[in-house]
């Protein structure tokens, strides 16, 4: 039927016309009508201004590095304003940890920045150990294994940065190379921890289990292959004219910008400042390893790419030194009130507590059983107070701030994730550039949304 002669009233019943929702009476009853209008008549376009075009890129977009949402105001192909929207992967890890024991927290933190699980675990465990005052009692072998695992993890994280960054810029061979080489590292992780990712391997007081019998040799054998393949990947891109065309002088951020925005990691080092917590505030015995802090002065995406390439080489150096340092010994602190009672082992039915330990608690010592039960269900207590530990993750300073109320659970845990802070630089890096450049800029920050949103 025609509505030409029907008077529209809004839902509230007043006579004032409503642009969005009106109603009219028919013989069948009142009909409510929800309709859109022309945006110009609703918002009223400002005089003498061009239309603003705001493009929403993501959170589901193949080149935004995960569920990152970019809100871009564009003028043709030029980005005039860029804002990043985050929170799409918030999982409440920090809140959840307040309801689990200190040791169980490791299982949570490893899932934050899922490309750097070892770093998350080390930062958290170092913080707990500092709060407990047992930093000096961590066995040498455990620290060496931690360093080795972290540096292997740095390689795998940088490889993913390269692979996804390459994919986003159309360099698909780089992606294939990056993910292929990462498998080599993940194979080592699987051999040592039982899991390729999220391994919950590093525990307060040491590590969950010692290297397998042939583990050391397998890692040693992997290094030459990794070194050769890393060189192949580098050769593919370092002098590649197309790659350079997409990355040189793109995503510029100088030292002053980095300082103001709190940027750390490869982005900071691409401004020429050799800031690396492994050197300036060593932990896990990093002062005993020889390696160089790689810096570039170009402040651009290409510089950050080169830094990552060369840092992987330095990490291999550290892994080699760590292998040489490995001496037989315990991998868990001696203090029985903190140390996890059992070492893990792999049996015919999968991974579990070692048979010797099961035999002891089930058939030999009642006290050992009680002790096991108390430590596993209730957990150890951490004295009331707060500590902060910062370590150099592949993305920058990963900080762990823990507050204890003297209980068996954290009172509050906060992670200062480097990706979270570094993502704030998107606007500074990309406003005024092309849309295609913002992809390169984001890829050079290498944010992982699991860490950003936690």
């Amino acid at each position: 039927m025609s509505t030409d002669n029907v008077t529209f009233t809004n839902a509230a019943g007043s006579d004032e016309a409503d642009d969005y929702a009106g109603s009219y009476d028919t013989t069948e009853g009142r009909i409510y009508n929800v309709s859109g209008g022309d945006w110009g008549t609703i918002a009223g376009a400002p005089e003498g201004e061009h239309d603003r075009i705001v493009v929403n890129m993501g959170p589901q977009h193949p080149s935004t590095h995960g569920v990152l949402r970019l809100i871009l105001e564009i003028d043709g192909e030029t980005v005039t304003e860029a804002r990043a929207g985050i929170g799409y992967l918030h999982t409440g890890i920090e809140k959840n940890m307040e309801f689990r024991s200190w040791v169980q927290g490791v299982t949570f933190v490893t899932r934050m920045d899922y490309l750097t699980p070892m770093f998350n675990e080390v930062a958290y465990c170092l913080a707990i150990e500092k709060a407990l005052g047992i930093t000096d009692q961590i066995p040498e072998r455990a620290s060496v294994i931690r360093v080795m695992m972290m540096e292997l993890n740095r390689i795998s994280s940088h490889l993913v940065a390269l692979a996804t960054g390459g994919m986003e810029l159309g360099a698909l061979t780089a992606m294939e190379f990056g993910f292929r080489e990462r498998e080599l590292v993940l194979d080592i992780f699987e051999m040592v921890t039982g899991l390729r990712m999220n391994s919950a391997y590093i525990r307060p007081g040491g590590v969950a289990q010692d290297l397998p019998a042939d583990g050391e040799q397998k890692i040693r054998d992997t290094i030459p292959l990794l070194r050769k393949r890393l060189k192949d990947t580098a050769d593919l891109l370092v002098d590649n004219a197309i790659w350079m065309g997409r990355t040189v002088d793109v995503g510029y951020l100088d030292l002053a910008g980095c300082m103001a925005l709190g940027i750390t990691g490869p982005v900071l080092r691409s401004t020429g400042l050799p800031h690396d917590l492994r050197k300036s505030q060593p932990y896990c015995g990093y002062e005993d390893y020889e390696f160089d802090v790689i810096t570039k002065t170009s402040c651009d995406v290409y510089g950050r790419f080169l830094i990552r390439i060369e840092e992987m080489e330095q990490s291999l150096r550290i892994v080699e030194q760590a292998l040489d340092k490995l001496k037989p010994g315990p991998v868990m602190i001696e203090d029985k009130k903190i140390a996890w009672p059992a070492q893990l082992s792999i049996g015919s039915d999968g991974q579990g507590n070692s048979p010797e330990h099961i035999k002891e608690i089930m058939s030999e010592s009642m006290e050992a059983l009680i002790h096991h039960f108390k430590l596993v269900t209730e957990g150890f207590r951490v004295p009331a107070g707060q500590v902060y530990v910062g370590i150099e993750s592949p993305k920058g300073e990963l900080g762990c701030h823990i507050v204890s109320s003297g209980g068996t659970r954290p009172y509050r845990v906060h992670f200062r994730d480097p990706s979270f802070t570094n993502l704030q630089a998107v606007a500074a890096m990309s406003e005024g550039s092309m849309i295609s450049d913002i992809i390169a800029a984001v890829a050079s920050i290498d944010p992982v949304m699991g860490g950003v949103d936690r």
Binding site: I86, G87, H90, G92, E94, K95, N96, E98, F99, R100, K130, A131, G133, M259, A260, L261, G262, I263, T264, L273, H275, S280, Q281, T377, E378, G379, A384, G385, Q386, V387, Y388, G390, E397, G399, H401, V403, S405, G406, G407, T408, R409, Y411, R412, H414, R416, F420, T421, L423, Q424, D453
Partner: protein, 234 residues
């Protein structure tokens, strides 16, 4: 006088920072305590304030701070509530009205040079009446290779802290996150909106009075309640 409710106060310290009281042997809040120690009362005391000399570079930084504050016409005791040193980390508890002046000094004074702020996060102490919400800032000086922590405490009903985004732009997202999770309003922030939770989310999830939520884990023939409803020992 010293008893369980009023632990001994060290010399030179006016007041202890008690954030709560733990009852019983295992801190179990639900069900009966069959251990025989159900009558235990144990106050939870945070580390006590430190007195001079602090030791190491802590004195140097504190001297610099006091001089700089005095040069700005502000007595140090006015701006700094107390100083806590715990596990080789120094914490300045700063009154909120002087926070902006304080952090500007941290950044600008040549003897301090804390170029980098590592962000702010909150901690909720519902047991500390009148100062339930704490905002905790971490600073790093790359020049001097030092770290300090700054803590600002406010009451739950008046949770407003001046924003330091103008001094340390990196705190933009960190302050938004702290607002989102704790409900602390950072006065002067350019756009204090939620960052993690949806814009229309009710409540501030990381406060202690906000439940964890969750659904029971179901097995064949049995269920396990969600984590915050399980029997716990804390």
């Amino acid at each position: 006088m010293t008893d369980a409710h009023h632990p001994a106060v060290p010399q030179g310290v006016e007041e202890l920072d008690i954030i709560g009281v733990r009852h019983g042997a295992f801190g179990a809040a639900d069900g009966g305590d069959t251990s025989g120690f159900g009558g235990l009362v144990d106050p939870i005391v945070m580390p006590a304030p430190a007195t001079r000399p602090f030791g190491g570079w802590f004195d140097e930084v504190s001297d610099e701070l006091e001089l700089a504050l005095q040069a700005g016409g502000l007595p140090a005791t006015e701006a700094i509530e107390k100083v806590v040193i715990y596990k080789d980390e120094i914490t300045y508890h700063v009154r909120r009205e002087h926070l902006l002046a304080f952090v500007t000094m941290l950044r600008d004074e040549p003897g301090l040079r804390f170029e980098m702020c590592l962000g702010v996060s909150g901690v909720h102490y519902p047991g500390e009446t009148g100062r339930e919400l704490h905002a905790v800032y971490h600073f790093l000086s790359i020049t001097h290779n030092r770290r300090v922590r700054v803590e600002v405490s406010v009451a739950d009903g008046d949770a407003v802290i001046p924003s330091i985004v103008a001094v340390y732009p990196t705190c933009d997202w960190h302050e938004r996150e702290t607002w989102d999770f704790f409900g602390i309003v950072f006065d002067g922030h350019p756009a204090l909106t939620r960052i993690m939770m949806p814009d229309d989310w009710p409540g501030h999830p990381q406060r202690k009075d906000y439940p964890l939520g969750g659904i029971p884990v179901e097995f064949k023939g049995g269920t396990i309640p969600p984590a915050d409803q399980r029997r716990s020992y804390n």
